[in-house]
């Protein structure tokens, strides 16, 4: 131990330095937030609770039931149930996500050719029961209205760039017979 060290120890130099920093911070704004009183807004691309995008033209989900999201999901937590409708169209009867198994990779969002599944900015969905975290089609559409809506759509589109938005088939193309996706005139 050198003399210098002895002096530092005796006069508590380190502590004084530390206290000085503490004291100086008393007069600056805090960086932490007083959650849950104060909430941090999610950035674009934040991967929160799932939602099915509602098609404003039809009022139903945009989803056509292609099942690509279910195929790509690494934790196999998406189930899509479809059937043939009265006009031979494909009808999405059920769409389920087991949120508790999801790893929030957002691969489903990337895979969807119609921008029909979204991860909303909503992250406060902790609950006491498993059932509360089992999402059905209705609940997923409800999530969209609640956590995305008009405002959210812009946010969603600007980050995820759904392929559909850029996809313009040539005229007269036999594309879903104009029935499945509303507002898709080509």
């Amino acid at each position: 131990m050198t003399l210098k060290d002895v002096i530092r120890k005796v006069f508590l130099v380190e502590i004084v330095k530390g206290m000085a920093l503490t004291f100086s911070r008393l007069f600056t704004r805090p960086v932490t937030r007083r959650y849950p009183k104060e909430k941090r807004p999610a950035e674009p691309g934040f991967r929160g609770l799932h939602a099915l995008v509602r098609n404003p033209a039809t009022g139903d989900a945009k989803c056509v039931g292609c099942g690509l999201c279910a195929a790509v999901c690494p934790s196999r937590c998406i189930n899509v149930y479809t059937s043939e409708g009265p006009e031979h169209q494909k009808v999405v009867d059920g769409y389920e996500i087991e949120v508790l198994r999801c790893v929030f990779c957002a691969l489903c969002v990337e895979a969807c050719p119609y921008g029909a599944i979204a991860l909303t900015p909503h992250y406060e969905y902790a609950d006491y029961s498993r059932e509360a975290l089992f999402m059905t089609k209705e609940r997923l559409l409800d999530n969209w209205d609640r956590y995305m809506g008009e405002e959210g759509l812009r946010y969603f589109d600007s980050f995820w760039n759904p392929k559909e938005a850029h996809f313009k088939p040539p005229r007269g193309q036999a594309m879903f017979k104009g029935r499945i996706i509303g507002g898709f005139s080509g």
Binding site: C66, H88, P113, P170
Partner: protein, 867 residues
Amino acid sequence: MIKVTIDGRDVELEHPVTVLEAARKAGIEIPTLCYFEGLSPFGGCRLCLVEVEKLPKLQTSCTLMTADGMVVRTETEQIRAARRSMLEFLLINHPLDCPYCDKAGECELQDLVARYGPEAGRFAEGKRRHPESFDDPIIVRNMERCVLCTRCIRMCSELQASYSISVTGRGSHSFVEPFSGGRYDCEYCGNCLTVCPVGAIMSRLHRHSYRPWFVEKETETVCGFCGVGCSMVLQMRENSIIRAIPRRGVGFNEGLLCARGRFGYEYVEGGEELTTPLMRVDGELRQVSWEEALSFTARRLGEIRDEFGGGAVGAVASGRCTNEDNYMLQKLMRFVIGSNNIDSAARNYYAPAQIYLERIFGQGITANLIPGIANSDGVFVAGGDPTAINPILGLKIRAVWRSGGRVVVLGVPGGLKRFVPYELIPVPYSEEIVLSAIVGRLLERKPPGGANAALEAKLRDLRIPSDDELGSTGVSPEDVARVSEDLSSMSTPVVVIGPDMVQRRRASKSLFLLGAIAYLTNARIFLLADRPNYQGLLDMGCLPELLPGGRPVELEMFRHKAEEALGMKVPEQRGLNLFEMIDGAESGRLKALYVMGENPVFNLPDGVRVEKALGSLDLLVVQDVHLTETARLADVVLPATAWPEKEGTYTNLERRLQRVRKARRGKMASYGREDWRILADIAGRLGMTKTYQRVEDVWEEVMHVSALHTGLGYEEMDGGRALWPYYGEPLRGMEGDFTVEGLDGLPEVPAPERPYLMIERPLYHSGTFSRRSKALLAIQPGPYLKMNPELARRHGLTGGDKARISNGRGVLELEVRLDDDMPDNQVHVANTFEGFAAMRLAGFGTDPVTGALYMDDNTVRVEKVLR
């Protein structure tokens, strides 16, 4: 030896094959679209292009034959560019339907475009439009997606030989359409949709309800509709069957199925399945618990046995149930209750015919391979339409024709009509005269070789009809000469025997004559079987006279062997057969009947009489999947599991043992129990000490008891390669121990005023199960009366009219369907629809020698129903 170099790899070939096949043999993958293994090469899609040194242009490898010294490259920049262009052309008119198209995920075009395709097309001029066609109940066509590979057309004409579809139109408006336009007028085998590489021809059964990656489990099993026993794969999602598909390389059906096999499975989840046991309380069937139903059944069976003896109890086994189920029923009857009264609906024709043929030639005479038929150079068919009773076997007969062989059919050719050079339709029930004449001609041509002395001795006594005597049959002596000439020119012939040759008076003589034809021409014999496990019934001892292994119960040696193997006693006398049991029930001799998976009220002649007989029993137990006509009369109904819900084995008509596997499990599968488990439970309550945990335990016992199945475990059966006899003891040789009725005489050819009622065996329906299958009902929704237009005219009828047919036994009212191919002395009705059972009008006569049912007396009065 041909040497070729493909992608720098040397390949040596014994025979010249196409470059594509040579490459595949060497493990080099060349992309294809129009090529399909088993179909003729077409060379239309040009995706299999390869570069061959010294040839200036790219060549299609699927049509180019290898030559010695050829140097081939399969993946160069030039080839990739060519493939890319081909795909770009295909996509000009191809809709971008993938997210919506049911083929996505297993679409060959999708895969190819992902691998070679252009990222974007340059063609901006719009696509052709062609509406999706829903004219057909089972198949949906979306010709916008068709890539004109013609695989479907080649399948339909080359393998199915139905020639129903073709390319219509020109240029970009070429579409594949059925000749009839609109609805398919075909055999609904669905084999075209197996081969379509894209989503242009698809099944409507599971339309829009699945994606290939939603398949959670695949179960390889055997079709439960007929005695061919085609292999198929059941694709499951959460306990529901999504599809039943064939697969090349699995089973001997080589990727083919018929309409029943492919589309008929839906009955298992039709919603009408029995869910709980039922018991008759105060005259009504009420739901009860398993325990209640089983203890009641066991107690009553025990009481009846103790009071009246084992002989007062009988059982009916089932051609739809597995070997294990039938074995267990047999054990319950013979060894636990002590009664040899066990039989099945195989009694109608299959069992008597099989036993009789075995008496002539020895056991296993009909154990011939179905795929082998295609290698024959001639087929003689008598007594039924193989393309409807056993469709895949029928295809092999058509294959004989395609490869230049002769097909001769005695009777109405049905689905073989286009394949016979001439028709040979005798007056009904005069066939034995025609057969005698044919045998006579054959004997003139070539004296028999002496291998089967007993048969030849009987042949010497045979009365050969003169040309005059032939006259009454409607078949000319020239026709007979022609048939015998054709038959003797065949070097590897096949004789196919159907039910109609057995269900007649003097069945022994018809069978003997057919056997003689086979003997004189050195042919292999096939006996058609319209249930999946008729042969298994015989092998498992579900006959009053035979123990498991096909051993006569009355021979002490065999009886002792079985008793020793099981440590239990069997009664010495043979039991009552199915018809005798009905007699017994009527006379009060039989007190209790246990019916498993069979519907006697519907499938036996004279339903009114059967109903009454069953009604007078003290105890009727019915074990089935649905509440059948017979189950409604029962005192106890026990719900059993259906075909995809159980493990076991079927023995097909060539005696191939194949595994039936359980595909559905868990809470959503039916509430029934496996048949053998129910039976073992009852046997346990009646004193059987042995217990069984798994179905394998039952089979082990079979292997132990039946000499035919020794050493033939489940592992040996995998891959469908187990044909009995396997490691078994030598076969029971019973040659020579047979009698033939009426050898030295010729029957009078009856000429009744009224037409004969014949049982039709349609392609789309086979009974209690098929009529609960939505898809099969969509193809054929109901019963009909098939008759010749001339006959109809005589009765003032035309197609679509309602006609009443009747005889002393009953009345049926059916819609008339005209058929030019039918003779004008008969009408055909199928025995498949509830309330329209043709068998209800049939008589109960049985042939004294073979014990088979005869139908000769069934003429009916036909009248128009006025509305």
